[in-house]
């Protein structure tokens, strides 16, 4: 299980200070959560600018309302705000969003950059197919798998963010994975069935 930072006492300290109007404390919370929050929004809505707008608005709303936050974990609360903004985005745009077609320099966590252009191209294509498969999911399943496998949240944390029962979280993640798997297996050149290894 991925660990949760929601129970981080540091968050509580920062939130306590931010509730009293401490901008520096809130900025530290932004520093801590900007990348995961932005990536959640990015995997949900697809476009980088839309995702950045959602993350910005989520931080703004959190800053404006932080005095109303009592005992709830800040992380879950912040992601809940962002999730609602994603749903607002879908309602406004009446579409499922479009995924970016190409990578940019704004990427972290790639690991060792391979010097082989062919390998890099294949890795890029694999990532594009995964992003497309996520994007093809309906919103409820998409956010469940994103919070789990992109943001690494535990099921109870996801249930808190989405305000749904634990069983619903479990079901949505499972169905989302099954649908993504089905789509990926349509590309055996990149996702061969035989090439599976347990971690």
């Amino acid at each position: 299980m991925f660990p949760s930072q929601d129970k981080n006492p540091n968050d509580r300290d920062l939130v306590s200070r931010a509730r009293q109007g401490d901008r520096e404390a809130f900025t530290q919370l932004i520093v801590q959560y900007q990348v995961p929050l932005y990536n959640m929004a990015l995997r949900m809505v697809g476009g980088r600018e839309d995702a950045a707008d959602i993350a910005q608005e989520a931080f703004l709303r959190a800053w404006e309302k932080i005095r109303t936050l009592r005992d709830a974990p800040f992380k879950s609360w912040l992601f809940q705000i962002a999730a609602n903004l994603c749903y607002d985005h879908f309602r406004r745009n009446r579409r499922y969003g479009t995924m970016p077609d190409e990578e940019t320099h704004n990427i972290v966590g790639l690991g060792i950059a391979t010097p082989d252009p062919q390998e890099r191209a294949e890795a890029g294509e694999r990532n594009r197919l995964v992003r497309q498969s996520i994007q093809a999911l309906d919103h409820d399943m998409r956010i469940a798998i994103v919070l789990r496998d992109v943001n690494g949240m535990a099921y109870d944390e996801i249930a808190s963010v989405l305000q749904v029962p634990l069983g619903t979280v479990k079901s949505r993640i499972a169905r989302a994975r099954a649908q993504v798997q089905e789509r990926l297996q349509q590309h055996p050149e990149f996702f061969p069935r035989e090439d599976v290894h347990a971690e």
Binding site: G21, V130, V180, Q181, E199
Partner: protein, 283 residues
């Protein structure tokens, strides 16, 4: 409950998926694992789900394309502030008006390392300008390292290093080093952060809870901590960073600190922090 032995029933899709995440209770975990161990079909289903989760988790984390800010004018909470808070609120607004960038943090000269469960970032902040406000404020951008192979052998030649040991677990350490303490503003800085004793092997910095920030006078530039390798089980992050690409405030030359903050991903909330001095020279 019947006590006689029986063949465990076939697990559902939800159970197999939750098994991957270790999200089944002990009884269900044992039942599903027992069935899977003797069922090739379920082994294949489980492996397919595991591979899918692995593919999604392998998507690269991206850095935001712009700075996230909290403009003062949208802070409605001040209207609700009790009378006793108005003084501090006015002070805060005044500070914002005259430029928060004038706040200076005291930076010590040598490498430092701290641990504890309080602040994760000490001074590694970047205040974006309020809406419509212009100023020499370094945005919270995240420069990426150059896409070249990280030379793990060069770790031994590091000249600028700091190590902090987890006080509750002496085998857990955060080691931060750079290949020099001084660079030209057009130079390249090699950074390495070793998460020794991490409970995770992930090379995803968000999963590891690792942030790197170059700080001066309370302003910071977040660096992308790229996972480069898991060396003897130790996740190692770093790479080469082109300093010319950093969105630093003018004058770019000056004394900075490179801070590594590690929120240990074990749910304990413990934080290790190391920092080293960085001097930029030239224009």
């Amino acid at each position: 409950m019947p006590s006689e032995p029986r063949v465990p029933i076939e697990p559902t899709l939800e159970e197999l998926s939750a098994l991957i995440d270790n999200e089944l209770d002990a009884a269900a975990h044992a039942r599903v694992a027992e069935h899977v161990a003797g069922c090739q079909e379920c082994q294949a289903r489980l492996e397919g789900l595991r591979q899918t989760a692995h593919a999604v988790r392998g998507l690269p984390m991206e850095t935001p394309p712009r700075t996230f800010t909290i403009p003062a004018q949208r802070r409605q909470a001040w209207r609700w502030a009790p009378v006793g808070w108005l003084g501090s609120g006015a002070v805060a607004l005044l500070l914002i008006a005259v430029g928060i960038q004038n706040l200076h943090l005291h930076l010590s000269a040598g490498p430092t390392a701290t641990s504890g469960s309080t602040s994760t970032v000490s001074g590694g902040l970047a205040y974006g300008p309020a809406q419509g406000q212009k100023g020499a404020v370094a945005p919270l951008a995240a420069p990426a390292p150059s896409p070249q192979l990280f030379d793990s052998q060069s770790r031994g030649s590091a000249m600028n290093a700091a190590t902090v040991v987890d006080p509750t677990n002496s085998s857990r350490r955060l080691v931060l080093d750079t290949d020099s303490a001084s660079y030209p503003t057009t130079g390249r800085m090699q950074v390495t952060a070793q998460l020794i004793g991490s409970p995770l092997t992930s090379l995803n910095s968000a999963n590891q809870g690792l942030t790197l920030t170059l700080v001066r006078n309370g302003l910071g530039v977040a660096l992308n901590p790229v996972g480069v390798e898991s060396w003897n089980g130790t996740p190692i992050f770093g790479g080469w960073y082109d300093i010319a690409g950093f969105p630093l405030s003018a004058p770019r030359a000056g004394d900075y600190r490179l801070e590594a903050t590690w929120v240990i991903p074990d749910g304990s909330g413990r934080v290790l922090q190391s920092s080293v001095p960085i001097r930029l020279t030239g224009n």
